[in-house]
Amino acid sequence: MADTHNEHDHEHMNIPKYIGIFMILVVGTIATYYAATVDMDRFFPGANTLVALLIAFTKMTFVMLFFMHVYWSKRLIWLAAVGSFFWLAIMFAYTMQDYLTRGSGTFSG
């Protein structure tokens, strides 16, 4: 069963494709560096951080889908991957509800 699964993956991925994905990650890393040198916070506070996170999220998606073969995996694996993202989102969302409401409103004094 496991062997069949591996053979199935090899049909989709080969060395040139792995190198292609790697190059996308390298480009993402370079883009992260240059994005940090541009003052995007003048558009709205936190814009630099948002762009950096978007690039990181894109890189992570490529790693999961292709390096970790999630793209060709069965639904249970997809569920685990999406569930992990959901949990990450919980941590971000509930932490941000603190930061975004701190020092404001009825109880700010």
Binding site: W87, M91, Y94, T95, Q97, D98, T101, R102, G105, F107
Partner: protein, 557 residues
């Protein structure tokens, strides 16, 4: 194959050997892939950490016998309570039930030969040893004084104790937890015996499934948090220290995102043990099986949404506090479902008060108090008065000791005959269970009052008017200590002098009782086929009580 045939064929009248006799060299243990042997090695290791953590607890209680700081210096006291917390939480409470009972029983309960990833299982033990060894090394070098929570910026900037080493130990140990959780999930999904459907699984297995989810989803976060702490401490990059651009409350968010669910890593397996004990010692099918099973999953999920209740007075936004306070009340619902269902299971049951059941009944009372006082602390107004007082210490210990440790002891007593093939002294077992119950309450109930009266935690000295209750508490700790030492003695004694247990000494229907005691290395001589429901005491389960009695009589003779 009908139930009776399955049981008869799964049972070996003349077992060829068992996992304990399958090799006696050190290498046969250290290189084993048998989940049962790995569980036994965890049992020994975890017990060592428990005893060390207990020694620190004894030091704390002796220091607090008098109002002045006269046994240890205040700086040393900081290290004592920190190291008590670190050893007990990371190296005893978190691994004890999953790594010992879960490791030993989960494959047996679902009719598997082993865990799905046996080498990973052995690796998780080695990682536990490595993490524990590093932590012990740091403690011997001088220890750490930050509290087990490592709050910043004290831990990153001001503490001159061994924060990095202990942090590294905890970081490494986290991988042991992740691998164990991963192994359990894969095993439950892929290794169940024919007929062992999801809703025929024992609730112990459901509890471990929920626990494993928390282990996998939460543990990486604390590992990253500790890593960030180390980076800031080593390189002075501003992450948590406000003086260099960081935010100390961010540390608390990240730390508690794991460490509150970690409470459920500790208590959920205990709840699984209690479900087994209550149902089996009432000789009655558990009331509301599906509700108890799904309440474990609900606790695991809701447990991730309430971490901010540890931060009500930290400077966190009041709006965030209100949301976390509401969600804290919500998480009480699935815990209450379990309590009500266990109580309903007892109703009209044929209850026997063997040692494991004494622990189970003790758990119900103590966890009830622990859980309800948690609501006090989750109430955003009241908690301002109670935060960082002994009320919190009492609440936490009612859940962790009154809940997890009591469940662990109940489970060890229940499955000891299966693990070792020997019975322990019921007389001493019952005496010990009662000493633990009395000693525990005498230790920790006064602390609710002390906390409400304003005695802060983490201080070596306190006002003289609080001494009487502290004397009660220290006296109780002595009784509790004796109650905890006794099982170590009579259980060890039983290994040599205990009478043979037989395969099913309790006459219970679970799969683990349908193989020999101790089980063979392969767990079952023939792959069992499950045709009965969980906790089925009727004839449908094929439970051959008369046959079991005959075999036991023959085995004992």
């Amino acid at each position: 194959m009908n139930a009776q045939t399955a049981i008869t064929e799964g049972h070996a009248d003349t077992p060829k050997g068992n996992y304990l006799t399958n090799g006696s060299t050190l290498a046969s243990w250290l290189l084993t892939k048998d989940h049962k042997r790995i569980a036994i090695m965890y049992l020994i290791s975890v017990s060592v950490f428990f005893m060390m953590g207990g020694l620190y607890a004894a030091t704390i209680r002796l220091e607090l016998l008098t109002p002045a700081s006269d046994l240890v210096e205040t700086a040393t006291y900081n290290k004592v309570f920190t190291q008590h917390g670190i050893l007990m939480i990371f190296f005893f409470l978190i691994p004890s039930i999953p790594a010992i009972l879960g490791n030993f029983l989960l494959p047996l309960m679902i009719g598997a030969k082993d865990l799905a990833l046996p080498r990973i299982n052995l690796l998780s033990l080695y990682i536990y040893w490595l993490g524990g060894g590093l932590t012990l090394f740091a403690l011997m070098q001088g220890g750490v004084d930050t509290g087990w929570t490592f709050y910043t910026p004290y831990s990153t900037t001001f503490s001159n104790s061994f924060v990095m080493f202990v942090g590294l130990g905890i970081f490494i140990n986290g991988f042991s937890s992740i691998l164990t959780g991963l192994n359990f999930i894969v095993t439950i999904h892929t290794m169940r015996a024919p007929g062992m459907t999801w809703f025929r699984m024992p609730l112990f297995v459901w509890a471990h499934y929920a626990t494993s989810l928390v282990m996998i989803l939460g543990t990486p976060v604390v590992a990253i948090t500790v890593l960030l702490l180390a980076i800031e401490r080593a390189t002075h990059v501003g992450i948590f220290d406000p003086s260099i651009g960081g935010d100390p409350i961010l540390f608390q968010h990240m730390f508690w995102f794991y460490s509150h669910p970690a409470v459920y890593i500790m208590i959920l397996p205990g709840m699984g043990v209690i479900s087994e004990l209550i149902s089996n010692f009432s000789r009655k099918k558990v009331f509301g099986y599906e509700f108890i099973a799904f309440s474990s999953i609900a606790i695991a999920v809701f447990g991730f949404l309430v971490w901010g209740h540890h931060m009500f007075v930290s400077g966190q936004s009041i709006y965030a506090g209100m949301v976390f306070s509401f969600l804290t009340m919500v998480v009480a619902v699935p815990s209450a479902i379990k309590m009500f269902n266990w109580t309903a299971t007892l109703y009209k049951g044929s209850i026997s008060f063997d040692t494991p059941m004494l622990y189970a009944i003790g758990f119900m009372g103590l966890f009830l108090i622990g859980g309800l006082t948690g609501l006090f602390l989750g109430a955003i107004g009241l908690t301002v008065h109670l935060t960082d007082t002994y009320f919190v210490v009492a609440h936490f210990h009612y859940v962790m000791v009154g809940g997890q440790v009591i469940a662990y002891l109940g489970g060890i007593h229940y499955w000891w005959p299966k693990m070792t093939g020997r019975m322990y002294s019921e007389f001493w077992g019952k005496i010990s269970a009662m000493l633990v119950f009395v000693g525990f309450n005498l230790t920790f109930f006064p602390q609710f009052i002390l906390g409400y009266q304003g005695m802060p935690r983490r201080y070596a000295a306190y006002p003289e008017e609080l001494q009487v209750l502290n004397i009660f508490s220290t006296a109780g700790a002595s009784v509790l200590g004796i109650g905890l030492i006794m099982p170590a003695i009579y259980l060890t004694h039983s290994l040599i002098f205990g009478k043979k247990a037989g395969d099913n000494p309790w006459m219970h229907p679970g799969l683990e009782w349908r193989t020999s005691s101790p089980p063979p290395t392969e767990n079952f001589d023939v792959m069992p086929v499950v045709t009965w429901e969980a906790y089925e005491f009727g004839e449908e389960s094929g439970l051959d009580l008369e046959g079991a009695k005959r075999r036991d009589a023959a085995g004992v003779a």
